[in-house]
């Protein structure tokens, strides 16, 4: 299942986390929220992102 989790703190700062996406697709998936909410102050790519981002495009399609 692909989900985007957003935690909005009591001071209005948002933290967006994508789950279930492979490689750079997570960035595409959450882009609409990032640009809608404001300025990105930090970004962290997790192990899952690095594992999948180097696969050729046809392999990415097979995974999904």
């Amino acid at each position: 299942m692909q989900t985007i989790e957003i935690i909005i703190s009591t001071d209005g700062q948002s933290r967006i986390e994508t789950r279930g996406f492979t490689g750079s697709r997570c960035r595409d998936a959450s882009q609409f929220l990032e640009s809608a909410l404001g300025k990105v102050s930090s970004e962290q790519l997790t192990a899952e992102y690095h594992q999948c981002v180097q696969h050729p495009p046809n392999q990415l399609r097979q995974e999904n």
């Binding site: 299942m1 692909q2 989900t3 985007i4 989790e5 957003i6 935690i7 909005i8 703190s9 009591t10 001071d11 209005g12 700062q13 948002s14 933290r15 967006i16 986390e17 994508t18 789950r19 996406f21 492979t22 490689g23 697709r25 997570c26 960035r27 595409d28 998936a29 959450s30 609409f32 929220l33 990032e34 809608a36 909410l37 404001g38 300025k39 990105v40 102050s41 930090s42 970004e43 962290q44 790519l45 997790t46 899952e48 992102y49 999948c52 999904n64």
Partner: protein, 125 residues
């Protein structure tokens, strides 16, 4: 998990600002020029509880202007709650426009968690 982004909220959407005000049972934001202690500000003005001056949102620039004299003329928590509600409503609006479903949960520390479930047909939107 694959990607975590932290964002400082900028208020640029009047509809989401209006929904946030409704959520907190504040008056509707009104486009006007209002006096602050030093000078005046033009934009969408919101009256927060017990604040001496309104908070003014310039949605074109994503800027907010207010004068609360470091908390003496207005409790900063009220503004923070408005920014939090704006973030919630803005995310809900954007998710709805994409056709995604949204679950909302209040967390014990006061944060609000939204879970957007991406439909298969929308995975690459």
């Amino acid at each position: 998990m694959s990607h975590i982004v932290t964002i400082q909220t900028e208020v640029r959407d009047v509809e989401a600002l209006g929904l946030a005000c409704r959520r907190l049972e504040l008056g509707e934001p009104v486009q006007e020029t209002v006096p602050l202690f030093s000078g005046e500000a033009t934009g969408y003005a919101v009256r927060l509880p017990d604040w001496r001056y309104p908070v003014v949102f310039d949605v074109e620039r994503g800027q907010v202007r207010y004068d609360n004299f470091e908390g003496r003329w207005g409790e900063p928590a009220h503004l923070n709650r408005l920014l939090q509600s704006y973030g919630v409503e803005k995310c809900r609006l954007e998710a709805r426009r994409k056709g995604h479903s949204v679950l909302e949960n209040q967390l014990s520390d006061g944060s609000i968690k939204l879970t957007i479930q991406i439909g298969e047909g929308h995975a690459n939107d």
